[in-house]
Symmetry: C2
Subunit: 342 residues, 2 copies
DNA sequence: AAAGTCATGGCAATCGTTTGCCATCTTTTG
DNA sequence: CAAAAGATGGCAAACGATTGCCATGACTTT
């Protein structure tokens, strides 16, 4: 059992440092983690020895006795969706800075897998960030009691969240289309159980109520380029001259199908996406879209989570329970004046 | 210390099961991990109790005593590069199936960070997959002694690897261009310390030697769309009528710049990329590229790593040390006949 | 000068598993 | 039928840290 490690040398432990400096292991532990608790002189000796011996703390051991693992999980519903790249990038950055490890989990868009993973790993995690939970509110609230949680783009009472305010952006998008003369707009719906999808749809309705315009909803479609053809055909089947699409991935799929069907964008139909993912600027035509601060959402979510973990007895003084991130409309080539009536 | 867990209930341990079934903890452990070692009847009783009590093993504790963490790290040089999405997807899938956790690490393209991370985490990992190591061969070999390693697209003696045979594809790409009449081809070089970049360049030279054609090398450029303008300008500064670009990301950046400069693709210049990443099919014009089995590379790398870990005393019978994955040329809109000489 | 405070460091229990070793009981073998 | 072999389960020692509690000595306070 002792001779672990492929190189044969037994890894150096806290005890080796203790022996080397002539203090107790407990003192070493304190010197390293709780600097105020030990005399400056001894601490320095210990730190020197630790450096000398190239000591690296054994995280499992630490986790076992302290209960803290310094690992947090990031759950996404589909790692190949570019939207999550941004999230992952943001969390990655912030977590690394704080000395936490990032466990990436693909939930494959199923709530069961999500809940199961979270439950099983709850002892080996300090917390989790849910980038696209498919879980019902109640379940989510329950899990939040098991393990510290922060959601992105999902608002559940009692669970802190970073929310990208795409719904507000929908207003801007609609006004943009209005100013181009469009009066008949379709909303292309994403997955039914997606919280942001519902929020965007509600925003659409609100906008439509404020202005005089007709709107239709088509879908729902699974988010992904594969749904593009069906979605495009559905839109063409309405009288809409423009559409706002649940997300860019789907919008790009629609663009491709429209080209196949020789429908010109934006001459015959204007298309607006959401998120401004990788690719939205170089697809053809470049996509007018609601630019979301995706990376920032990841960073913010991590900050919220970490501040919850660190709080030493303090209930929740400065930490807000919800952070709303603004989006803005980026106009590119996929939107234009309404076509002259046939 | 005992009252951990936000919900207050102390988590179920192996001892609870032992008490419940009237056996020793060690027997429970064996029943759960080493089924053959314990009587079928007792094992079933234990399994039933475990299910009943909703037992979830505590991984840190397990890791501490066994030395195995059931976690493996995947190191990429830049999480926002779509090439790695594929890799991550592949590893994710395979690791989950094998019951391993995936730790995602962004090395920010620096060898030091890579080595440091690997060294620091070696006790909390069972192994690692390096998707784009920037480390020198020697260093890599040394680290492979510290912790089981598998590389992707990097060939170092003694370190198992999954290699995408893009160099072979370069031949196909060159022949494609030749058949279109191109005789003057530029290779747009990626990062200098990138192993695949060098391999691709060597392949280019080999092809050029076989056929009668002039070739130039421009670069190196950091891989990323940001390098597009500089790279495009550099290519235009040569007499090349076509270029093969280190990777699609850079190629897409070049496409954008060419459009800005009103250079028509493929009429004025043909462009070939490598990898066939997300976006290569819907950029404008769609990119002719060498389609790489990226996800598969991730899966293969995981299999190789896992088989090394599992091998119970067996030296290395069936496991190959290197797996070569074939690519194929996907012709899209960015390549065409050589322009008539001015 | 007695009594209280504080800073410092050691002891030992604990976290939840795994695993080497041994004891017992049951089979098989010669 | 005795001896060897195998199956099964328990004991207890790790694994490497953290942390509550206590002892000591120095420094304040009254």
């Amino acid at each position: 059992m002792p001779p672990r490690g492929t190189d044969g040398t037994r890894p150096v432990t806290i005890n080796d440092i203790a022996t080397a400096t002539g203090v107790a292991a407990s003192t070493v532990s304190r010197a390293l983690n709780n600097p105020g608790r030990v005399n400056a002189a001894t601490r320095e000796r210990i730190e020197a020895a630790a450096r000398e011996l190239r000591y690296v703390p054994n995280s499992p051991a630490r986790a076992l006795s302290s209960g803290r693992t310094r690992a947090i999980a990031v759950l996404v519903s589909d790692v190949t969706n570019p939207f999550y790249f941004g999230v992952i990038r943001g969390t990655q950055e912030q977590l690394k800075a704080a000395g936490y490890a990032q466990l990436l989990i693909d939930t494959e868009d199923t709530g069961e897998l999500e809940a199961e993973m979270l439950h099983k790993m709850r002892r080996s995690l300090d917390g989790a960030i849910l980038a696209a939970s498919r879980l019902p509110d109640r379940e989510l609230a329950r899990l939040a009691g098991e393990i510290p949680l922060v959601t992105i783009n999902r608002n559940v009472p009692g669970v802190p969240s970073a929310i990208i305010d795409t719904p507000a952006g929908i207003g801007q998008a609609a006004e943009h289309l209005l100013s181009l003369g469009h009066r008949n707009i379709a909303y292309v719906s994403g997955p039914q159980r997606s919280w942001p999808n519902e929020a965007r749809w509600h925003a659409m309705r609100a906008v439509a109520a404020r202005h005089r315009l007709t709107f239709t909803r088509v879908g729902p479609f699974p988010s992904g380029r594969g749904s593009g053809p069906a979605a495009a055909d559905a839109v063409l089947n309405t009288r809409a001259t423009a559409c706002i699409v649940f997300n860019d991935l789907l919008a790009i799929g629609i663009l491709q199908r429209l080209r196949e069907r020789h429908v010109r964008v934006p001459e015959d139909l204007s298309v607006v996406g959401c998120d401004d993912i990788f690719g939205a600027d170089f697809c053809h035509p470049p996509l007018t879209t609601l630019t979301a601060p995706i990376e920032q959402a990841g960073r913010v979510a991590v900050s919220m989570l970490l501040s919850r973990l660190d709080r030493t007895a303090a209930p929740s003084p400065t930490t807000r329970q919800q952070v709303m991130l603004p989006v803005h409309l980026t106009v590119r080539g996929s939107t234009g004046p309404v076509p002259a009536p046939a």
